[in-house]
Amino acid sequence: CSPTVTVAPPDKPITINLNVKIEHEIRVKVEKELESVINPESGLF
């Protein structure tokens, strides 16, 4: 039988630091501008 190698998880935890800035104003503006594209009159929807 092939030896099974179990890798004990290294004890030191990995730390991940993330900063997220959420822009809601842009999303509202983009959604408004998309209304003229995602629209039967535009011929593209």
């Binding site: 998880p9 990995i14 630091n17 997220v20």
Partner: protein, 320 residues
């Protein structure tokens, strides 16, 4: 139907009382007496409701006119803050004159508020008192609770007094579901599951409401998945390791520190301890995810997309 009964103490016209009573006064968009009574003014539109009230005036020599009001309003449907609501009950017993004061704690109940953030089964016990000097009345919320994000939000002994700033109020959150909360913020590629409880110390100041050192903690374990479309996050390059770890991080501990400023700035510092079983045999991962956003812009954008979809539903229903 309105009925008035007046009595007078014998010949002495300076002493007596009058009571005006109504049974089941119909209320609708045009006839909305509740909007007159509610101070501070609430953007409240009633579609259909009934009001029962009794107004009693008493006068006697050497004493100011006393005026008491007892009202019981039931509103089937309406809108508050441009959000549709159903099942509103308002019961109040108030001294109006010589000074506004609740005789007993008033009740406000609401079955459903269908705003961008849905609130159900709101129950609030309020007390109004008018400060001397006649500014806006002080509203004390003795107890309030509501169902929110599949959990409960509770308030106790909160005083809203425009005249005397820096009043505080503690909001308790019990067993809220993280998934819909995170989903509302539409953070590209972020899903979080699990449940949290905690407290948000509210402070009212002349500039508005703020939350200082709010804190929520996980109840039981959960999951965080974060893979944004772009390869880097705003402000912090996502290393390959971090990207893999965040594919599916099972957490046992989650705490979030919450601060909110009157201008809408909401900062949430999420600290999470867990592991990704598919990575290095499940090596422990500590994640610090600091988010900043403007809550007022979020609510406006939700209102916009919410009204867009409800507007859409309405037009579709018409054409069906």
């Amino acid at each position: 139907t309105l009925r008035a009964e007046c009595t007078q103490a014998g010949e002495d016209t300076r002493k007596g009382q009058c009571t005006v009573r109504s049974e089941g006064l119909q209320m609708d968009a045009d006839r909305n007496p509740l909007a007159l009574l509610v101070e501070p003014k609430l953007p409240l539109a009633l579609h259909q409701g009934t009001l029962t009230f009794s107004l009693q005036g008493r006068w006697q020599p050497g004493a100011p006119l006393a005026l008491d009001l007892e009202l019981d309003g039931k509103v089937a449907r309406g809108t508050a803050f441009a959000a549709p609501f159903s099942g509103l009950v308002v019961q109040q017993r108030l001294h109006l004159l010589p000074a506004l004061r609740s005789i007993t704690a008033g009740l406000v109940q609401l079955d459903k508020l269908e705003g961008p953030i849905p609130v159900d089964q709101l129950t609030m016990h309020t007390r109004f008192t008018a400060p001397a000097g006649g500014q806006a009345p002080v509203v004390a919320i003795e107890r309030a609770d509501a169902a929110l994000f599949n959990g409960k939000i509770r308030l106790a002994n909160c005083v809203y007094d425009r005249g005397n700033p820096d009043t505080a109020c503690l909001v308790r959150l019990d067993d809220l579901d993280l998934q819909p909360i995170v989903a509302l913020q539409k953070v590209d590629g972020l899903t979080v599951t699990g449940r949290v409880s905690g407290q948000l110390p509210l402070r009212f100041s002349p500039q508005g409401v703020r939350i200082h050192q709010g804190r929520v903690e996980n109840i039981g374990s959960g999951l965080i998945r974060y893979h944004p479309a772009g390869n880097t996050l705003e402000g912090s390059p996502l290393t390959v390791y971090a990207r893999n770890a965040l594919e599916e991080l099972h957490y046992q501990r989650l705490t979030a520190h919450i601060d909110y400023l009157p201008d809408g700035t909401l900062t949430v510092a999420l600290h999470l301890q867990g592991q990704n079983p598919k990575l290095e045999g499940g090596r422990a991962v500590h994640l610090n995810l600091n988010t900043e956003q403007n809550l007022l812009s979020l609510l406006k954008s939700l209102q916009y997309s919410h009204s867009l979809s409800s507007e859409l539903d309405r037009t579709i229903r018409q054409h069906r």
